[in-house]
Each structure stands twice: as structure tokens, then as C-alpha cells.
């Protein structure tokens, strides 16, 4: 049986652009049809912005790769019209267990409160994730949305000409030229776009190697994240076990610094490791294996002139924490509406600098957490190892040491504190929903809150009436007045009786007040589109 990631899902087809004279000009060209490029293209297309995606390949991710998708990205996918399919297919989980040697030292639960549509996490193979994004892209095309995807179209040269980017694209039938008003590079950690434009990608390199063995097996381990320090089957190193759909299990072994790559990747050697862990009698089939090491690094800025960078092309972290694909999806979430307003001419180009500022802030947070986890999992000095081992030894017996155990701090939504787009703060209201924060889901008594939000600016009146429509500088703000429920009160009012929230198209809070004031709302909207 051929696997989904071995099937060309968007094979090369000749297009009129290849014979066009003068050179065809596109509003937005996205390079890379991975999770981030596809999500961005879907986002733009469903908001009516024409977008062309180019990829040097013609199929989904080879191997499972990114498998953990957090609640906030699932909410973004709901807005993109394909979240529910992901959750239905995915393995839902919220519990992590940490073992030291043979004993459980510590466990955590990520589901801290009820009243959210989406689970804390799902596990889903990256190839399935991309397959579902492609299905959504095709559905949009069938509805006539302006979205195009070209396989086997490899960008080989780039020039920023001030008011557009010129691209040279190689295909099986030779090369052709394209022009893009805006270019978005979603072409992964080794981003050829970044290299062609000569931008730095600085940060820390970690020496330890990790072996991923995704195996197909019938097993009755629970749907939890299990992490081992120093287990009997991988002495002195770490290991991870995680469940994916269709009986696929992610097993990840730390294998040390000086390794013979070719030897370690031999199926017999990998199977010996797996039998040591799962038992001699275990029956399994290898689906995908890979050896990787970590880098934690980012670009200085995510916007250079007419080119924007998103996902791993802009920033890279270690996988412990699921902060790679999850942060990339928050990049596309942040960028799509800004590009739309700039292309329409309703916001100044400088709004795109706020994309860089806000997502650099997110990347910094992810790199900090990821670096700390990596330092804990792979201590780089004797002193660091001594302290790490002391924490692990104490954690078995004493509660105080458990919060210090760091096997990965899992992806949480980013709040854009300090962003120039944020309006004034009102300190009487709950801190979690302050300006810059993503809206927290809530039960409205008539459906989930987040299902009612996104894709345009909105004014939300919680227990207070707001106008149904407001126009500011050519931008329509939709009003939504909601009666009070317990979760709305807890998340949006706290101890006060009513509040008004101005929301961005990416479901983040722009500003909030205790009462409706048209002048203040209009000023905050201008601030939120970069005119402040």
C-alpha cells in the first residue's frame, strides 16, 4: 500500500504564467506548502485575497514530523474551516508523565479549566495535517476562492525591486519569471529564500542527537505523553513515547553526541533499541525513522521590505514543547489579516512591521522555553548535570522539586504584550484577556464564543449593548452583544458588571473598556491597524 506521503497530491501542471508576457504579477506569493504556508494561503483566500503557493515538491510531509497540535492552533484551524476534522482524526491528550529510571516521578495535566470547545492537545501526523489543509484548499477552490497551488515549482532566484519581488521559478519544463506584490517565505528551517536574500539565522546549536522511530503497533499504552530520564532501556539518556492516530507511535531516543549516523539508522539497530524498550516479543513495523539535533535560533526581523518570513523559516526551536508548527500557525494567524488590509489600502504598510514585532516576541518566548528544556534534557556541563540529577532524585519524594523537572514546556498561546497595536488596559478586568491576548473560548449559551469570532474586526459587548455596525476609515466593525454566562463572566468581566472588547481579525484583544465610547473605539481601531 502506498502511503499518503508518497502520493503526488498537487502534481506539476503547466500554467499560462509560464508563457506570459509581460511577466505575470500576483498579489501574494507563498513559498512552501507545509503547515504554515498552506494555513496562510487558506486564511488569505477565504478573506478574498488572491494567493499563489509554490512548492518544490508535490506531496505532503515525508514522515510524521510535527505531531502535537495545541489548543490555540486548533482554534485558528477552526477559523480556517478545518479544525473539527483535525480534532476528529487526532488523538486527544492532556496528561504528561515523567519517569526517572523505572519509576514515575511526576505527572502534569494541561487541561486546567472547562468551557473550551477544543482539547488541550491533539496528536496528528504532519502528513495528515497537511492532507486536511490541502482538502480545505481544494474546497475553497471549488467555491471559486482565489487560491492556486503549484507543485514542482522551485524558486531559484529572487530580487526585491522596491514595489514588488521578482522570482525565477524552475519547473520540469524549464524556468519562468513571476512578480509578487508581497512574498511570504514558509520554506522551513533551511529556507532557501532566507539564504538567497542573505539574511542571518542566529542562535544556539545543541550537540546531542535524537533518533525518532515512528512505529506501527498494537499497544495499550494510554494517550499520554511519556518521558523518561535515564530509563533502563536507554541508560544515561532520555526517551519519549507518544500516541498518534492509526496505531502509529512516536518513540524518540536521545542517542548522544558522537554518533555514527549511518549505523544508528540501520533498521536492525533501531529494532534492537525498540525491543529493549517494548520487550523482546513486541511486534511492530517501522513507519519512519530520522535522526535530528536541535538548533534554537531566529531571524532578527521577520519582514525585510516586500518579503515576510513565517514558521521555521523565521525561527527554529527544539521539538520538546511542540513549539515549532504551533508557533508557525500563530505566525500565519497574525500575518493574514495585516496583509489583507495593506493590500486593500486600508492600513499603512508599516502594519506589517507589527507582524515582525509581535511574532519576534512569540519566537523569543518559544526559544527561551525550548532552550531551557533542552538544557535540562541534555545538560551541557558537569555542574548542570549534577543539578539536573539532583532535581530528578528529589522529585520522586518531594513535591517542591517537581515544577523544576523540565521535559518540555508545552506550547501556550502568545500574548502580544507591549505591541504598538494594543489599546489602553483596564486593570479591573481579568488579566488573561488583556490587550494583546488571544480571546479565551467560552460557552455563550448559544454556541462557543470563538466560533462567532474572527476574520474581521469585531466589537464585543459582554452584558452591555454595542452598535451592530460601525465604520472607521473604510473598515467595518461588526458588533456582537452577548448576554452573560458563567464562563463569559469569569473570562471577560471578573468583578465588574459589563465590558466592551475590540477584537482583531485573528481573535486577539485590541482594546477593552468598562463602557461603550464610540470615540475611544475608533481611536483604538486606528491604533490596531497601525495608524496610532
Amino acid at each position: 500500500m502506498s502511503k499518503i506521503f508518497e502520493t503526488p497530491l498537487y502534481p506539476y501542471q503547466r500554467t499560462p504564467d509560464q508563457d506570459a508576457s509581460p511577466t505575470a504579477r500576483h498579489k501574494v506569493v507563498v513559498i512552501g506548502a507545509g503547515p504554515v504556508g498552506l494555513a496562510l494561503a487558506i486564511d488569505l483566500a477565504q478573506q478574498g485575497v488572491p494567493v499563489l503557493v509554490l512548492d518544490d515538491n508535490d506531496r505532503v510531509s515525508f514522515g510524521s514530523r510535527a505531531i502535537c497540535f495545541a489548543k490555540r492552533p486548533l482554534e485558528i484551524l477552526d477559523r480556517l474551516g478545518c479544525g473539527e476534522e483535525m480534532v476528529e482524526k487526532g488523538v486527544l491528550w492532556d496528561t504528561g508523565r515523567v519517569f526517572v529510571d523505572e519509576d514515575e516521578a511526576y505527572s502534569f495535566n494541561l487541561l486546567t479549566e472547562s468551557g473550551h470547545k477544543n482539547p488541550a492537545f491533539i496528536n496528528l501526523q504532519q502528513y495528515t495535517f497537511e492532507e486536511k489543509l490541502l482538502a480545505r484548499l481544494r474546497a475553497l477552490q471549488d467555491e471559486g476562492a482565489p487560491i492556486d497551488l503549484r507543485g514542482k515549482n522551485k524558486v531559484t532566484a529572487l530580487a526585491d525591486n522596491g514595489d514588488h519581488v521578482r522570482l525565477e521559478v524552475d519547473t520540469p519544463e524549464g524556468s519562468y519569471l513571476l512578480e509578487a506584490d508581497w512574498l511570504v517565505a514558509c520554506d522551513g528551517a533551511n529556507s532557501p529564500t532566507r539564504k538567497m536574500l542573505g539574511h542571518d539565522f542566529k542562535g544556539r546549536v545543541f550537540e546531542d542527537n535524537f533518533l525518532i522511530a515512528d512505529v506501527i503497533m498494537q499497544a495499550d499504552f494510554p494517550a499520554e505523553r511519556w518521558f523518561w530520564f535515564d530509563p533502563p532501556f536507554n541508560r544515561g539518556q532520555s526517551a519519549l513515547l507518544h500516541k498518534q492516530p492509526d496505531n502509529v507511535w512516536r518513540i524518540d531516543f536521545q542517542i548522544g553526541q558522537e554518533i555514527d549516523r549511518e549505523e544508528e539508522l540501520k533498521p536492525e539497530k533501531i529494532k534492537r533499541r525498540l525491543r529493549a524498550m517494548l520487550g523482546e516479543a513486541a511486534e511492530f513495523e517501522l513507519e519512519w525513522t530520522s535522526i535530528y539535533s536541535f538548533q534554537c535560533r531566529r531571524m532578527d526581523k521577520f519582514r525585510y521590505g516586500r518579503t515576510l518570513f513565517a514558521g521555521d523559516a523565521a525561527h527554529q526551536v527544539s521539538p520538546f514543547g511542540a513549539r515549532g508548527a504551533n508557533s508557525g500557525l500563530q505566525d500565519s494567524d497574525n500575518l493574514a489579516w495585516k496583509l489583507k488590509l495593506v493590500i486593500e489600502g486600508t492600513a499603512p504598510e508599516t502594519l506589517l512591521d507589527s507582524y515582525s514585532d509581535e511574532r519576534v516576541h512569540g519566537a523569543e518566548e518559544n526559544i527561551l522555553n525550548s532552550t531551557r528544556s533542552t538544557d535540562f534534557i541534555t545538560p551541557k556541563s558537569k555542574a548542570s548535570r549534577t543539578l539536573r540529577d539532583a532535581v530528578l532524585a528529589l522529585a520522586r519524594q518531594h513535591a517542591f522539586a517537581r515544577p523544576l523537572v523540565n521535559s518540555g514546556r508545552l506550547s501556550v498561546p502568545c500574548t502580544y504584550d507591549g505591541s504598538v497595536l494594543n489599546g489602553p488596559e483596564v486593570s479591573q478586568l481579568p488579566a488573561d484577556t488583556r490587550p494583546g491576548a488571544p480571546m479565551k473560548d467560552a460557552d455563550t449559551g448559544a454556541g462557543w464564543l470563538l466560533d462567532k469570532l474572527g476574520n474581521r474586526f469585531q466589537l464585543l459587548g459582554v452584558n452591555i449593548a454595542v452598535p451592530a455596525v460601525l465604520e472607521v476609515d473604510g473598515i467595518i466593525v461588526d458588533g456582537l452583544t452577548l448576554p452573560l454566562t458563567d464562563s463569559l463572566k469569569a473570562r471577560y468581566l471578573g468583578d465588574v458588571g459589563a465590558a466592551v472588547y475590540l477584537l482583531r481579525p485573528d481573535q486577539h484583544v485590541a482594546a477593552r473598556w468598562l463602557a461603550y465610547d464610540e470615540t475611544a473605539v475608533k481611536a483604538a481601531l486606528r491604533t490596531a491597524i497601525g495608524k496610532g
Binding site: 558537569k382 555542574a383 543539578l387 517542591f400 523544576l404 523540565n406 514546556r409
Partner: protein
């Protein structure tokens, strides 16, 4: 009698741990051991209570 607190008591455990590791950066093994020793003595003085320190010694040994 004063009780040794073995419940989580750090506001930002990851920040503290990172600062602790950073303090050791670039030190030789002997320098690191000496740093840890000074740190223990400083913290012990801050605690001050003999029964708490005795309980801490026991917790560390077991």
C-alpha cells in the same frame, strides 16, 4: 518547632533554575563545586533555624 517546606515555593521555577545554571556557566568543575558550597552556606544562614536545617540535611541524605 519550625517545619521544612518541601512543597513548591518558587514563583517562577524555570527562571530560578535557568539563573542557577547560568551562574555555573564557564566554571571549572572545582569552581562549580565551590560555588554550590558558598550558595548552601548563604541559604543556610538566611534560613537560620537549626531544626529546619537539620530536616533539610535529612531530606537531602535520604
Amino acid at each position: 518547632m519550625n517545619m521544612l517546606n518541601l512543597k513548591p515555593n518558587l514563583d517562577q521555577p524555570d527562571d530560578f533554575y535557568a539563573a542557577l545554571i547560568a551562574a555555573h556557566e564557564g566554571l571549572s568543575d572545582a569552581e562549580s563545586e565551590a560555588l554550590n558550597a558558598r550558595l548552601i552556606l548563604i541559604l543556610a544562614n538566611h534560613i537560620g533555624q537549626a531544626d529546619v536545617l537539620t530536616a533539610a540535611l535529612e531530606a537531602a541524605k535520604s
